[in-house]
Symmetry: C2
Subunit: 434 residues, 2 copies
């Protein structure tokens, strides 16, 4: 089977390494030898640390289109263009495509699926969500006997690494981001990771597959980790919780609740104990109960492992069957989306307040007028070291209330001149039924 | 697609329920309607709580063999016979088979695979190992890009339930067994679960698939939970460990270490925190790193979910491709088995000893002469309540030593008339590299 590869960066060179190291085993598993014939890169002279001597190296996909021996292209570059044009050309030329490009699938997945379907071609994308964790295969094949009722997941390893470093090493947010960059977990501009864009794109892809429903990003409650401070992690820990960037989709009263927010989770839960750059995905279905997967959500070899699974699945013909099954069952907008304002949870609220007698009364009054009932309050006697004199931190846990009530209350809280800096508002996760 | 079902017990009636409740969704996923045409049971008059009105009900498989519309049979009964004869007849008649019968695959898997291969037929068995957890699909398809280096797993939910009840509720072993029987987790005769037979059969099946190596049961270190007492769980907890019936296969220096033993695991590990009837499987591969799955390892609907995954995989044609791939890669005895005596671990030893001055010296002398170095000793001041007067419990943690040294030492320890009752000997799990 002739392969072509577009992009030979971290993941691509990992795939080349596996193809070369495990050639015998892969041939038997795939039922035929796998031959990498083309590699398309921007700079043909750059050393990528792997042996590409058997491949034609070019800067354009045309040589792939001209080679009838290539049946499938591994598309391992990010961004929307030229990815969209390249994949479109490949599909139209009769090539199937294996891609790891989550952003592209998020933005143009529908049209690419449509096009592939019309042309009788196949698209595989196990590596696009959660790196090495085979969540796509799980949803598309292992759980087909289930009606899935919820997904709770940690889908962004960079954010999880940052939160873990802050808590375990006592680092500030900025120090932990710098550490993540130093280790190659975060880009020079970490915005897409820390503001939740990356995780929410993955969640939307999973929601399409698992719930047959297309959700628009701007209708989802989405919040990144940029405003979380070490003190929030420490206070949460004292209360018996860990804060994780939690992606959730679940069916409630026939509607779909979707959110991506830093969330307080009881410290003993598996989700709460997921540390470092790992991902964790818990899927509930009517037959299976709760099934949990965890492992490396990113990284060279783990992502390459997911690409290899697609390659072997394709070589055996399984991937083609799965894609046809997907086309038959994809987005029929089975559920309506619960409006963000109607999400109902308990909340953790954290303020920096002037250390004056009436402050708590003002806050309690505003919350009360928006139907938000207070479960517990703690204002620390000692002020934070180095903090403005006369400013204390105040943490409020609420009883169950709606996101809408909290947003409305927050608009009023913003007007209090006794509150300083960012007002932190994080939901508490429901405890799973045992 | 015409289906037949042999056995309509717990799992079978779960499958019928899913087929009926999710008919629309399954038809789209499978690409064709799924029609259950035959059910074979021992007693045709017994009410099974599900609607079988559309099926021909019989006590023999002959009607299936006579019906050309049946392409695949769901074989959902246990035991070796008539299972082996029935599946053989079905395969020879041109039917493919989906089975949940782990004991049969353990004993006759090789000949059944051989036969199916010769006849061009397909065998599916996702439900045979770990119930709802899709570990077979994981190994056969998602991890094909990997050389697997280790599996660590909790594969017997009954044993895990018993150990959990003992620790959490302070129950004795016998009380916890009775509770497991009361809840339907354990059979009237729980021997196969608690003596490790069930778990070791599953481990051997996984080892065949993941390591391409056939291991004979009597060459494996195998130990059940029958002799574990509450006090062992409590002492382990005080030392920072949990005791779990751990199934392990791993490659070490080119050989395969395989064992099934109650094992001390650091309390913070996911394996250690697996409670109740759940299963937990951690697979390490050269590309993926460590991938972990957990969920219901048994139970009606979780196991039925695994059978449904096989049915849909079969209907789409994926299962046939997977089985062909399996035939190409199965047991080539890639690894040699490390002799049981050469397994090298730290150990937890627990004795009941006469409360006399020279006892510890005798034990230490025997261990020392067998090259077993003691890491820590604790002999409790207070005697167990209700225990024989003058008998104390003694716990020794050893440094790393071999199973062979310990067995030899144990033969000598057995001769000491100052030791009473069962001598408990449990390995400590290696900590995974972080």
């Amino acid at each position: 089977m002739g392969l072509a590869m577009i992009g030979c960066g971290t993941v691509g060179s990992g795939v080349v390494r596996i193809l070369q190291q495990s050639a015998d085993l892969l041939t038997r598993r795939a039922g035929q030898p796998l031959q990498l014939r083309h590699v398309v890169v921007r700079d043909v002279n750059k050393d990528r640390g792997v042996d590409l001597s058997g491949c034609q190296i070019s800067t354009d996909i045309q040589p792939i289109l001209d080679d009838p021996a290539v049946s499938v292209a591994l598309h391992l570059v990010g961004g929307i263009e030229p990815a969209l044009s390249d994949i479109t050309r490949l599909l139209k030329s009769g090539r199937d495509v294996i891609t790891a490009n989550k952003a592209l699938l998020y933005e143009h997945g529908d049209e690419l699926f449509e096009l592939a379907g019309q042309l009788g071609r196949t698209l595989c994308f196990e590596a696009a969500v959660a790196g090495g964790i085979p969540i796509i295969s799980m949803v598309n094949s292992s759980l087909t006997g289930n009606r899935i009722s919820s997904i709770e997941a940690i889908l962004n390893g960079t954010s999880n690494f940052i939160l873990t470093r802050m808590l375990n090493e006592g680092q500030s947010y900025n120090e932990a981001v710098a550490e993540a960059q130093h280790r190659g977990y975060a880009e020079a501009d970490p915005a897409m990771d820390v503001d939740g864009t990356d995780a929410v794109q993955k969640l939307i892809l999973l929601t399409r597959l698992a719930f047959g429903t297309n959700v628009e990003m701007d209708r989802i409650v989405r919040q990144g980790i940029e405003h979380i401070e070490l003190l929030d992690l420490l206070v949460a820990e004292e209360l018996g919780y860990r804060i994780k960037l939690l992606a959730t989709t679940r069916v409630k009263d026939g509607s779909l609740e979707v959110s991506l927010q830093p969330t307080l989770l009881k410290a003993h839960r598996g989700l709460a104990m997921t540390d470092g750059a790992d991902n964790y995905i818990s899927v509930s279905g009517d037959a299976i109960g709760r099934l949990t997967l965890s492992g490396a959500g990113a990284g060279q070899m783990a992502t390459a492992s997911a690409v290899m699974a697609d390659i072997v699945d394709y070589a055996t013909g399984r991937a083609q069957q799965t894609f046809q099954s997907l086309l038959r069952t994809r987005c029929n907008d089975r559920y309506s989306l619960l409006p963000a304002d109607d999400l109902t949870r308990r909340y953790y609220l954290r303020f920096r307040v002037s250390d004056q007698p009436h402050v708590l009364a003002d806050i309690a009054d505003i919350l009360g007028r928006h139907d938000i009932s207070i479960s517990s309050v703690r204002q620390d006697e000692t002020r934070e070291s180095g903090d403005r004199s006369g400013v204390a931190r105040l943490v409020v846990l609420t009883h169950s209330t709606t996101e809408g009530n909290l947003r409305a209350a927050d608009l009023e809280l913003a007007k209090l001149d006794t509150l300083h800096g960012t007002r932190i508002r994080l939901p508490l996760a429901d405890e799973p039924a045992t």
